[in-house]
């Protein structure tokens, strides 16, 4: 006699809508949020160098979290959201 068992896994909810893609960074305000992990600034700065070579970025706003483990302060998140056309961030641990 067979046995019926249930799948224990779960997939992510559907329906996530990403922000509209920009097409270019020419003339845009680019935010960069660095989490503070040693070496992360090297990676982000190298990425910025490459992006600046490719695009005429109007302004770069580089912000650093005070503590790696904590979420970025609300003030920084609000500033990036209000002022930037795009934001780059990353997790490297």
């Amino acid at each position: 006699m067979s046995v019926r068992v249930l799948n224990p896994t779960l997939v992510a909810k559907s329906g996530f809508q990403p922000a509209p893609r920009l097409g270019t960074l020419d003339g845009k305000v680019l935010g960069v949020l660095y989490n503070g992990r040693p070496g992360g600034d090297v990676v982000l700065n190298d990425l910025l160098t490459q992006l600046k070579a490719k695009y005429s970025i109007a302004t770069v706003m580089f912000r650093t979290k005070a503590r790696i483990s904590n979420a970025a302060p609300e003030e920084i998140l609000a500033e990036l959201q209000e002022s930037c056309d795009a934001v780059i961030t990353g997790v490297g641990d």
């Binding site: 067979s2 046995v3 019926r4 068992v5 249930l6 799948n7 224990p8 896994t9 779960l10 997939v11 992510a12 909810k13 996530f16 503070g36 040693p38 070496g39 600034d41 090297v42 005070a66 503590r67 790696i68 483990s69 904590n70 979420a71 997790v91 641990d93």
Partner: protein, 370 residues
């Protein structure tokens, strides 16, 4: 008998229980150990114990964009080998994991952090959860299977597994047994749950992510000051919230000498200190980006071994003036940062120090019906 229930979870038909165990291994749904196949009958039984519909939402894990239902908790609890009467504890634990103040992503970190679960209140004894000798070891069903159920739930429903989001460099054995009761027989309040604002005598579950490592500190003295002096002098961790598991014989010494938990905490906050030389050797004094660091430790200057930093007690400004790593500079204002928990065997001999993340809070939820 085939259930007529319409489950949200996929139903798989296999030849027998042994086949089900093999299938779960093949699918990567286990933690490496054999599981108890979650049959429909068992899932019904577990849900019936807590009188929850399968679709009942228990928590949302926002970081993974997942909604955890009673059905998924029951399935993973069965797999872990739990009894139905553990479900109230697991429901409360899941509510902690989904709480807004709990930051989940650290459990996937390179540091191999994992969830430490402490249970207070009458439910602990009702389900046989161990607070005494060998509480972190093998052999007690409640301790091991509740910890395992939480681990399986996070692996299967939040991808906290190898091949998912897990990046722990060494892994964390606590995934199998980091669930204990706090010993409340010795009456050295407030308990962990009471410290978190829960009513005396009620049941609650508290979770906190802990790092890889637990350090036994052997205490040979029999006075409160002697024991605490040893603990302060042997403190293993440079700046973090620390669980300090204290066995009943030491608690009795503290009680007899009039030392409350708060007084013990304050003593350790004042007296746990490291020399500047030691902090430099450990790479904990100066924070540098890779461009500056280049793998070279800072120079140890004359006098560095006579200058001391009390990471728990110095103000932020005092630590910043010494250029203590900003990740540790703010330490000293987070609360609680040293968390005494009564647990362990009646022989005493050791306290157990277990590091946790610095200033994310403990998260506590009541056990319904507890």
């Amino acid at each position: 008998m085939i259930s007529t229930r319409k489950w949200a979870s996929e139903v798989l038909e296999v030849a027998d229980l042994s086949g089900a165990m093999d299938l779960f291994w093949e699918k990567g749904w286990t933690d490496g150990l054999p599981i108890v196949p979650p049959t429909e009958d068992l899932v019904e039984e577990f849900l019936g114990y807590v009188e929850l519909e399968p679709s009942q939402e228990v928590c949302r894990i926002v970081e993974r964009n997942r909604v955890i239902t009673a059905e998924k908790i029951a399935i993973n609890a069965i797999m872990a080998g739990c009894l139905p009467e553990y479900m109230p504890v697991l429901i409360a634990a899941a509510e902690c994991l989904g709480a807004p103040e709990y930051k989940l992503n650290h459990i996937a970190s390179a540091g191999s952090l994992w969830v430490m679960t402490v249970v207070n209140g009458p439910i602990a004894k009702r389900i046989g959860l161990n607070a005494g000798m060998y509480c972190f070891g093998a052999g007690v069903r409640a301790n091991c299977t509740i910890a395992r159920a939480i681990s399986l739930l996070l692996a299967n429903c939040a991808e906290a597994r190898i091949g998912g989001i897990q990046r722990g460099q060494f892994g964390q054995p606590g995934r199998f047994n980091y669930c204990i009761a706090e010993n409340e027989d010795v009456d050295w309040g407030p308990t962990v749950a009471e410290m978190q604002g829960h009513q005396i005598g009620t049941s609650a579950v508290t979770i906190k992510e802990v790092g890889l490592g637990m350090v036994p500190i052997r205490c040979n003295f029999t006075t409160a000051e002697g024991i605490l002096g040893t603990i302060a002098g042997a403190w293993p961790f440079v700046g973090s919230t620390v669980f300090l598991f204290i066995p009943p014989p030491f608690v009795e010494i503290f009680k007899d000498a009039g030392w409350s938990r708060d007084r013990v905490r304050e003593y350790l906050r004042e007296n746990v200190r490291f020399s500047v030389a030691e902090l430099k050797r450990r790479g904990a004094l100066h924070r540098r980006g890779t461009e500056e660091l280049a793998g070279v430790p800072p120079e140890i200057e004359p006098g560095d071994d006579q200058k001391y930093v009390s990471l728990y007690a110095m103000t932020i400004e005092e630590k910043k003036a010494l250029e203590v790593d900003p990740n540790k500079a703010e330490f000293g204002v987070s609360h609680p940062d040293i968390i005494p928990v009564v647990a362990g065997g009646d022989a005493g001999l050791f306290v157990l120090a277990m590091p946790a993340t610095t200033d994310w809070p403990l998260v506590t939820r009541p056990v319904k019906g507890g």
